[in-house]
Symmetry: C2
Subunit: 453 residues, 2 copies
């Protein structure tokens, strides 16, 4: 008899994990909807022509490909065997599993552009698949949770991203976190200002290591990457800058005085702050991080990254503004801004901080327990009454020892049992026992209802 197993890098989610994941996902969903985002779903499978070339060579390697149905080898001959797996791919497979939610969303926008109402605010919560080497915290199937607005340049969207992140974190009980914000145009401006126009990519890669390796080593790396020593010198005041948000802004206005793009970036940042202020919102958790450079090649305006402090996992959310989501599918000039939550990472953070609410674990509120057929029948009647009041209730379905029934309740995390003994049957009550405290009292069904509601 075969012993069943799971494919490498995939997971089952049992009842407790699902309840906890739903707690996270429902919090995020509620927030997206409060801000007017609408849910869509796209198929797990996409044509390989939609997916390939969008994630770089490495990404193409990591796509899961679906074998063509039927006689999939019919186009393959011995020459193909010699040509090798990659050259032969298009003869045996034409579909793949989605690798992220961004490319399918771009495809969706292009295919439905005549029916959508722009600005279009969509969210999407679905699994994606990557044939990565599985390791701790990295899976081959995992959920992504994206929200994007396309079809507007308004910085209201950026301000709202900050508000949505704050709301989700507040509802999850997370208190110590930073929403790092920057603007790609500021990074472009900085490379212009130090005389290395167009090199913001390597600049940020090097600067990103500042915390780990220190300024001296970063200088060495910049030199190795071909930055002139006088450029690196010009960078020093920026690296050493100790200032609050307003101090950073005035510093940058001077530092970027010669860079039109750089000043535009600062202006966008200021306008976003202005909108927050017009909304009556403060700047709690907002951290202007001049060197933040997440997904540089892609973003053209604001850049976001959220870090939870004091936990082993850092970044749990991020995003930014882009200018050309759908160009690759023939629809140019679709600007948008989007962000996403890392569900697996949030799960680990909440677990590490012990922030999952107890009630998310136990959906059933009460188990009805019985000693004999008479109690069982009484329990059936009560069960029906409780459920009609919307109370999640169960009865132990077999005649079984009371200990077994109690064990069932406690293993399933059911907080209350309702004991159907002879006395209770006579007086039309339940002996309601709180499993955690051990307290027990015989009360009427109406009282049980109002207590559990």
């Amino acid at each position: 008899m075969q012993k069943p197993g799971l494919p490498k890098g995939t997971r089952d989610f049992g009842p407790v994990q699902m309840a906890r994941r739903n707690f996270i996902l429902n919090t995020i969903k509620d927030t997206f909807q409060l801000f007017g985002y609408q849910q869509i779903e796209t198929p797990a499978m996409e044509n390989l022509s939609t997916l390939t070339g969008k994630y770089g060579d490495e990404g193409d390697q990591l796509l899961f490909k679906i074998l063509n149905s039927g006689d999939y080898l019919k186009k393959v001959d011995s020459n193909d065997l010699e040509a090798g797996s990659q050259a032969t791919l298009n003869k045996v497979s034409e579909k793949g599993l989605r690798y992220d939610l961004t490319v399918p969303f771009a495809r969706f926008v292009v295919m439905n552009r005549n029916d959508l109402t722009f600005p279009f605010k969509r969210f999407q919560i679905q699994p994606v698949w990557r044939a990565d080497r599985p390791q701790k915290g990295r899976y081959r199937e995992f959920y992504q949770c994206d929200a994007d607005v396309v079809g507007t340049d308004s910085l209201v969207c950026e301000a709202e991203i900050i508000l949505m992140i704050r709301r989700v974190f507040a509802k999850l009980g997370l208190k110590d976190f930073d929403i790092k914000v920057n603007n790609r145009k500021i990074l472009t401006g900085i490379s212009e200002a130090i005389g290395e126009a167009g090199k913001e990519g390597p600049l940020c890669v090097a600067i990103d290591k500042l915390d780990k390796i220190g300024w001296e080593k970063v200088q060495e790396e910049l030199a190795e990457r071909g930055f002139a020593s006088q450029s690196v010198e010009k960078l020093a005041p920026l690296v050493n800058l100790k200032a609050d948000l307003k101090g950073k802004i005035s510093f940058l206005k001077e530092f970027l005085a010669q860079s039109e793009t750089g000043l535009k970036g600062v202006a966008e940042f200021e306008e976003m702050l202005q909108i927050l202020s017009q909304m009556g919102e403060n700047l709690e958790h907002v951290d202007f991080d001049i060197m933040l450079a997440r997904g540089l090649s892609y973003y053209t305006g604001a850049i976001f990254e959220v870090k939870v402090n004091g936990v082993s996992i850092g970044s749990v959310s991020g995003g930014g503004r882009y200018d050309n989501l759908t160009g690759v599918f023939g629809l140019p000039d679709v600007s948008g801004v989007g962000f996403s939550f890392g569900v697996d990472r949030l799960y680990d953070v909440l677990e590490e901080l012990d922030l999952f609410p107890e009630e998310s674990l136990a959906s059933t509120k009460i188990l009805l327990i019985h000693f004999d057929q008479k109690g069982f029948e009484y329990g059936l009647k009560v069960l029906s009454q409780l459920r009609k009041e919307g109370i999640k209730a169960e009865i132990y379905p077999d005649l079984a020892k009371v200990k077994k029934q109690f064990d069932f309740a406690s293993k399933k995390g059911i907080p209350f049992v309702g004991i159907c003994g002879d006395q209770e049957i006579e007086s039309d009550t339940l002996a309601l026992k709180n499993i955690e405290s051990g307290n027990q009292e015989s009360i009427s069904i109406e009282e049980v209802v109002s207590l559990l509601k």
Copy 2:
């Protein structure tokens, strides 16, 4: 530039479809949870060793197989090319997409048998994939929505299935439907009683056509299938039986008097009715259909099928009791009972009957509309106030013509707009307009809140 498309047989779900699907799925989920069922999820990919051989030869053909990562051709030589696609399959693929939720659930139970609390009530709502020929109403990716209890023989589970189906249909607004119930043991008993023991399979296939082709043609078919003419004769009183539920039961008790299995089936059916009665429930929508034979090879006890009357699509839900869910994975004697809702079919039924509630279409309740920068800024402030009260609200994010903003609201199905004109700004009010009725009045923000809440 490539024009993007979708793989054959797959679909995108846009905002309206998603809102409607969520209306159905949330109704089902709520009901499952009210009855103590817990959600699990399993990965989209399973090892082919888990999937193959479970769905018959045709099912194996319809599995979507995943190409091995990397150099997938490395084990294939020219001999394999000659041997053909099927013989070579295990050299190029070891994983497939799940074909249903039952086999993954069986695998889950076996792998987690030491950690689960039995009786284990689980529900699972996830897509499945089948390489079927796409046609109207049949897709290559579709959601299944299953609930099963394993580890108990209690007929409380059967009674609760009826109650769950009734609750879901009531919440969906469906009124005219039949829950057809039968028991496999009754079918076994009938074939014994007519002297054709073990032939309940072909018997039911033929009888199933009664409505379409009439009793005479069915008799011919039974003869062709090797039923003796005296057996067919014995069947006649059953086929012609016009009786209510109680009448059917007493008829069967006589008809099946010589079949122990048959009488057991009747007794199980009666016990289920007894439990419903002890719960204080009536038998509305319950139809005892002696010839119902859904998924015969699989079920061993109760059999369910739900038909909505007066619509083109009939069966929207079904299930039954089985004796050996996990035997194929080495864990014998796991009895259970389960049922599922056909989400795509329910969607079509609700659409045909125009039963989708309006509010499921529009998540955003109010759009704030402005004439100029001053109104925009006032709108930002009000927006924040509304959202803090939990009201799903949006502002048109750009300075745009009022008509464009109104169009946006109406296309997105937003029921109210709040106009931020000079008068409103001065008096700290909103001109609240009901898009459908056209009514408009200027009221305070507090009044807007209490009206929209």
